[in-house]
């Protein structure tokens, strides 16, 4: 298998896709949004409970999609737990930049770095960004987003 392919489907990604973290509904969610990729049929629903200060107390996702989409949603849920909305927004834009830019200067310790291999596959980048786009939509109090 080539290096690029191993980079995309590395161990962390496959583990998250086989056993996604925070998967399921969330009782008492204050914010929920659905995200669709109409081209491939991927669907991510993000549920959040946010307190009055805008801190994410709890998060869950229901994802129907490929290994890249599933692992991105799983890692995202791990990463945003207990963040306030400003920090969650900042992380969203950081991850978006990492997944869509050509630069190789993402630091080794950067959160979600294991997802960056997808940059070698332009047709698959949206698989990785869909959960994050859906998270942003939920935080804004909206309920629906699509990649197209």
């Amino acid at each position: 298998m080539t290096k690029e392919l191993m980079q995309v489907y590395q161990k962390t990604v496959l583990e998250h896709s086989r056993k996604p973290h925070h998967f399921g509904k969330l009782v008492n969610a204050t914010h929920s949004a659905e995200g669709f990729n109409p081209l491939c049929g991927d669907k991510v629903t993000v549920h959040l409970t946010m307190n009055s200060n805008g801190t994410i107390n709890e998060v869950s996702h229901e994802t129907t999609g490929c290994a890249i989409c599933m692992s991105s949603a799983s890692m995202m849920a791990d990463a945003i737990q207990a963040l306030d909305s400003a920090a969650a927004n900042a992380l969203c834009s950081q991850v978006h930049t990492m997944l869509t830019s050509d630069s190789n200067d993402n630091p080794p310790g950067m959160p979600l770095k294991s997802l960056e291999g997808v940059r070698a596959y332009p047709s698959r980048v949206k698989c990785a960004t869909l959960p994050w786009q859906t998270l942003l939509t939920a935080m804004m109090g909206e309920t629906l987003t699509t990649t197209e």
Partner: protein, 408 residues
């Protein structure tokens, strides 16, 4: 399967695109239902036309315009003979199957009113659903949907119950792009005729795989695309029974479809030109003519038999892979195999296969209602053509085993 009747090696040698490596592997192109590849004969016909003969058709008195017109109209005659239409007046050039169906929906739609019914099936491509949905939104026609069974076959008894006095058209695929099912179109047409209902067949997936005879099928309309049958993109055909076409309202207006124009009065052109507004896809039509010559040189019956052999080979080989489930197991199938794994998403399969030089389609195949019926978000689809061989299938199976090892 090299034989004096079907020499696969010499056929493959005529397709320059197949002679390349992809990601360091021999290319196994198994996405033919999305678009086929072209032999030298077609590529040369298009390029020769542009190098030597190009001018606008039906317009100039000069030499090149005559030559271009002769070649373009020659292609129309080849198409007529290929599908056994009665006359070239029944062969309307369009940009492809999608435009053919939209032409019909827009033209026939002008003769329909609110409450009139169009029957489609559950296995249709979006291009045979949306034009009718648009008509429903615009004038209030009603769309009825014929069901399919677990094998992906049309349920004829249920289809028969859908006809009513308000049914104006049955619009149905000849072969399903997502499932490979070959529908019993002659029986379906006979059923519709008993009810006095017109029939459109979406032949996009049928035309490359075997002989199509519109008189034997007895359909009223037949739509297909050049690019699925080794011809250029950007051209397709709507076959329409002349007695119907004669009275159908016009669709697009422009040059070519008129004989004389003043602001007081317009005289429209004869059939089929009055349905062909604007400069047509001349080079593409000529390329399609060359594709027909090429296919007939091999023989559609031989192509059908060889592809059936490949389908059996591939079905057996894929069935041996643990966890692989074939979607679409109709008794009569074209060489299209849709499949899923419960624990591996089609897009991940597609990427891993691509790395091994194997091109397949993954996703919903523009047939969401089919995916919903089988309860899957999408499938992986290997679709075979007469220039595929046993090695392509071996390469597919080997690549799938690599993917399975990776994701399990």
């Amino acid at each position: 399967m090299n034989s004096p009747l079907f020499n696969i090696d010499s056929i493959r040698a005529e397709f320059p695109i197949l002679q390349q490596q992809v990601n360091g592997h021999r290319l196994a192109f198994l996405d033919n239902a999305a678009s086929s590849q072209r032999p030298d004969a077609v590529i040369d016909a298009v390029s020769d036309y542009y190098r030597n003969d190009h001018a606008n058709v039906h317009r100039g008195v000069h030499h090149l315009s005559h030559r271009a017109t002769d070649a373009y109209e020659g292609a129309r005659e080849k198409i007529r003979a290929f599908i056994n239409a009665r006359s070239i007046r029944e062969i309307v050039f369009t940009s492809g199957t999608t435009e053919s169906i939209n032409l019909l929906a827009n033209s026939l739609g002008q003769t329909m009113q609110a409450g009139d019914e169009v029957i489609v099936s559950r296995m249709e491509h979006h291009s045979n659903i949306i034009p009718w949905k648009l008509l429903a939104e615009r004038i209030g026609i009603v769309i009825k949907v014929a069901p399919i069974n677990e094998q992906g076959e049309l349920v004829l008894d249920e289809l028969a119950k859908l006809f009513s006095k308000k049914t104006k058209l049955l619009a149905i695929s000849h072969v399903s792009n997502a499932l490979g099912t070959i529908n019993p179109v002659a029986d379906i047409v006979a059923l519709a005729k008993q009810q006095d209902v017109l029939v459109l067949l979406d032949g996009a997936q049928a035309i490359p795989h075997g002989k199509v005879d519109v008189q034997a099928i007895d359909c009223d309309f037949y739509a297909f695309s050049s690019h699925k049958m080794c011809g250029p993109t950007g051209v397709g055909v709507l076959y329409a029974r002349e007695s119907l076409l004669e009275n159908m309202p016009l669709f697009m207006g422009g040059g070519e479809m008129v004989i004389a124009v003043s602001f007081e009065k317009t005289i429209y052109n004869d059939l089929p030109y009055r349905f062909e507004a604007g400069t047509p896809p001349i080079a593409q039509a000529i390329g399609l003519g060359a594709a027909i010559d090429y296919l007939e040189g091999i023989g559609m019956d031989k192509i059908a038999a060889y592809e059936h052999h490949l389908l059996e080979l591939a079905t057996t080989a894929l069935s041996d892979i643990e966890g692989l489930r074939i979607i679409g197991t109709a008794a009569k199938k074209a060489a299209v195999i849709s499949f899923v794994f419960d624990d591996i998403h089609p897009h991940d399969l597609g990427t891993v296969l691509d790395h091994q030089g194997v091109a397949i389609r993954t996703g919903h195949h523009c047939a969401n209602p089919v995916m919903d019926f089988f309860g899957v978000p999408g499938t992986a689809r290997a679709s075979l053509a007469f220039y595929n061989d046993a090695e392509d299938i071996e390469q597919l199976v080997k690549a799938l085993r690599v993917a399975v090892d990776m994701f399990r």
